[in-house]
């Protein structure tokens, strides 16, 4: 199939990417009808994307498998062991540890890239891909910092690539129902929303692991650190617990809010918040018996065990100003009086409650199972006609929606124009936490904290030498 691609390129002088990107406009004229090539319902080879992945283990492996309708042409992971299963499934794809080398060597063969690294390297990897004109699918949160999210959002336009953040609930039915119901006035104007998760389920507020362990030969620790300041290797950070360190992750909020707040952001057309403030635990877990009393965690190092975050959004058109409250680490909003006794709140561990002037809507993570509460009111409700386009396969079709976008040029459901500002909003919570919970007033358009000048230092972060976002 590379031969086919070569032929296409040489004959049209269009890169494959350009070809695919422009296909929406020219499809009817330039694509060989797929039914000619793809008999028996099989996808014609020329329609297939050449996809690479940066971060091939864990979350990435699932994303890759859901993209396996396409050609998986190159795989990258700093950890050979983490990548091994995926590598085995795609034996023809060359493998790399350093995504920069992969892009150098294979860029001509790559149309699109899945990025599922730890949070701190999302942006550098995604930006490098976009600058080469590659479409990107980036795990949530889109970036580690607000600035990075803004840069990626702008870059998507600049480089005219198709983008998707890995908040798969955005392609689901639930989020559409909520948006349609709220649009329909099912619960009246919404002025207050509560969202919660029972995470973190990994350690947060632990002390930095002591000592220096030998780096396994299967891991490139320096590459894993990437943009982050150097620190000695410790297996405590991998493969998952990096979430609990500011240098790498974004805590429970960063992990879950892009899913949980997603329906709020979409249905209420939120945009940038005008303020955020927080309160949180400060005690430290780990070596707990030492000294026989709790130690305080270094909150510059690690997110808290539990936090409550308050966001304010201004009026948007007809929609009134709204307050969004986030709870994690076991904290939850008060149980709504409308919720019948014995009934589960949200999906148990996570959920959202929209408080409207005329009623409440409750859902779980990924906007799952939205219901007006109490159930009696749900049953009475005459649902409006669906107005928002459905994504084939719903949540499970999230990666395929991106592939479709890469091919037909119509943006994917959670493209960066949407998911960039969503990520920025989520990350505002971390910004206030890192400012001791103080209320941050935010000028979203100018990406600026207006009331505490020093907080602006946390809008972006300094990369380790040798790393740059390249903007």
């Amino acid at each position: 199939m590379k031969d086919i691609e070569k032929q296409t390129k040489s004959s049209t002088s269009l890169s494959r990417r350009q070809f695919l990107a422009s296909s929406a406009a020219f499809a009817a004229f330039t694509i060989v009808p797929s039914y000619v090539l793809g008999a028996n319902g099989q996808q014609p080879p020329s329609d297939k994307l050449n996809i690479a992945a940066i971060g091939s283990g864990g979350m990435g492996s699932g994303n890759i498998e859901r993209c396996s309708t396409e050609n998986i042409v190159a795989l990258c992971d700093v950890d050979d062991e983490r990548g091994a299963d995926t590598y085995a499934k795609h034996p023809n794809a060359p493998t790399f540890r350093d995504f920069r080398k992969m892009l150098d060597k294979e860029q001509k063969n790559i149309d699109a890239v899945i990025i599922a690294t730890p949070d701190h390297t999302h942006a550098v990897a995604a930006m490098a891909c976009m600058q080469l004109g590659k479409h990107v699918y980036v795990q949530k949160p889109l970036t580690h910092d607000i600035y990075e999210a803004r840069m990626l959002t702008e870059a998507a336009h600049k480089y005219k690539v198709q983008t998707q953040m890995g908040n798969q609930g955005h392609s689901g039915e639930g989020i559409r129902l909520i948006a349609e119901w709220i649009q329909d006035g099912a619960i009246g104007p919404v002025r207050e929303v509560h969202a919660w998760t029972d995470r973190p389920i990994w350690p947060q507020s632990v002390g930095r692991p002591a000592g220096e362990l030998a780096v396994p030969s299967t891991l490139d620790w320096d590459l894993w650190l990437g943009t982050a300041p150097f620190r000695p290797f410790n297996k405590g950070y991998l493969p998952f617990d990096w979430r609990g360190w500011w240098d790498f992750g974004t805590g429970a909020l960063g992990d879950m809010a892009c899913h949980i707040i997603d329906p709020v952001f979409m249905a209420l057309k939120l945009g940038y918040p005008t303020s955020a403030s927080a309160s949180f635990t400060r005690v430290r877990l780990g070596d707990r018996y030492e000294g026989h009393y709790l130690k305080l965690a270094d909150m510059n190092e690690t997110p808290p065990i539990s936090s409550v975050i308050h966001y304010e959004f201004p009026q948007r058109g007809e929609m009134p100003a709204v307050k969004l409250h986030w709870y994690d680490g076991g904290m939850r909003p008060e149980r709504p009086v409308e919720l019948e006794q014995g009934r589960r709140m949200g999906d148990g561990g996570n959920g959202v409650i929209f408080v409207g002037d005329k009623g409440k809507i409750m859902c779980g993570c990924y906007a799952a199972n939205p219901r007006i509460i109490p159930e009696e009111k749900m049953k009475e409700y005459k649902r409006p006609e669906p107005t928002i386009e459905r994504i084939p396969g719903g949540e499970g079709g999230h990666e395929q929606d991106w592939i479709r976008a890469c091919k037909d040029g119509k943006p994917a459901s959670s493209n960066f124009d949407y998911s960039g500002p969503l990520t920025e909003t989520v990350l505002m919570g971390n910004l206030t936490m890192r400012m001791d919970g103080e209320r941050i007033e935010w000028d979203g358009v100018n990406m600026k904290v207006t009331n505490i000048p020093e907080a602006n230092a946390l809008v972006s972060r300094k990369y380790r030498e040798g790393w740059s976002l390249g903007v």
Binding site: Y289, H292, L294, S306, Y327, G330
Partner: protein, 478 residues
Amino acid sequence: MGSLFGASRSGKKISRRDFIKAGSAGVAAIGFPFIVSSSALGADGAVAASDRIALGFIGVGGQGFFNMKSFITNPAVQVVAVCDVNEESDYSKFYFGGTAGRKPVKAFADNYYAEKNNGSFKGVDEYVAYQDLIGRKDIDAVVIATPDHWHTLISIAAMRTGKNVYCEKPISHNVFEARWIAEEAKKAGVVTQMGNQGHAEEGARLLCEWIADGAIGNVHTVHIWCNRPGGMWEQGIDRPSDTPEVPKGLDWDKWVGPAKFRPYHSLYHPFMWRGWWDFGTGSLGDMGCHQMDAPYWALKLDAPVSIEASSTKVNDETAPLATKIHYKFGKRGDMCPVEMVWYDGGLKPARPEELEEGRELQSEGLLFVGDKGTILSEFNGGSPRIIPESKMREYKRPAKTIERSIGHREEFIAACQGKGKACSNFDYAGPLNEIVLLGNVAVRAGKKLLWDSANLKFSNCEESSKFIKEEYRQGYSL
């Protein structure tokens, strides 16, 4: 000394307290023959020996020692005995600092009196068993500062012998005990005081007066936040598996007392017991009696209708690291229903809109939210201010109608002398303790609880009754 007390008119032995009460009521005549021995206790001339209140201290660790240092300077007080199951512990790692326990605290009292009396004072007595201390008829009042699980039993035992009782907060380990101790106090007719010192201060009074004055209209919400346990003690952990040796000088079995026996560990003693459900009552139990006092008083709170909590991970051993508890109260007279929200472990309410730019909520405090305004105060009601400050300045303060206190410990001693009233007496403090400790039940129950106060049970959660009333270890019920 007990033998010096004669028979009362009713033929019963007259306690020193009865005697003093009688004295203040003008029946001094009976008194004189009996008080000879008081002079032997180290009179300093400022207060007639006969009027001095003989105090025994039960539980003289960090807080007990702290209490003594305050009480002993009261010229109306004569410290006569200390009791603790522990001889001496190092508190330097905890906020009390120094050392405490039977030996150092006795030494402190002895030195104090020796200096005052040129060494003529023979010293205070020391006991391991509280029964021995409260058995002494010459003692008027006891100051109890044991771990929480001992508070009610010792208080009631002391009250039944006619002792006046000053007991640290919370005065009970569970809701049942809170009701029981209040009933026993009523029956005994003794002077009682819970150790929530803020109750004697100006702030709580101002809050009561302003709220009654309608300064912020009808109060519908109160937010109360506390930063403990912070770095102070352990919560959110499981029981340790190692069983270190019991330190010399500690009677561990007596320390465990009415709780289910378990081997000694330094995670319990000294100081660390607060986080363990079997002994302490967590951050809420530690601070709730301080922090909920002004709301309870100013808003005339009675039993809550419902209590609902969420928290960091709950386990059967220790209180969680952080909690958020919602209490709902119905109408009280013409006061509107109110929601009271408790936050601990560092959590706080959302920053109130009225707070001026640049001001932040302190690490612990109270927010009273009315339909016409908001008051912010310190944790125990201190320094209340309507916010924003401009509204505070405009406010025409009402007359000070509530009597001011001479001091929390001082008013207890005065009340023991028959002068005035101890204001955080168990009649007042009992229901406050119930409110506080219901929060812990909600944390452990993991669901919204509907409280049937009259019947001491939850109308929707029979299984949580086990947290209302706990069983005493054999040999420890009264």
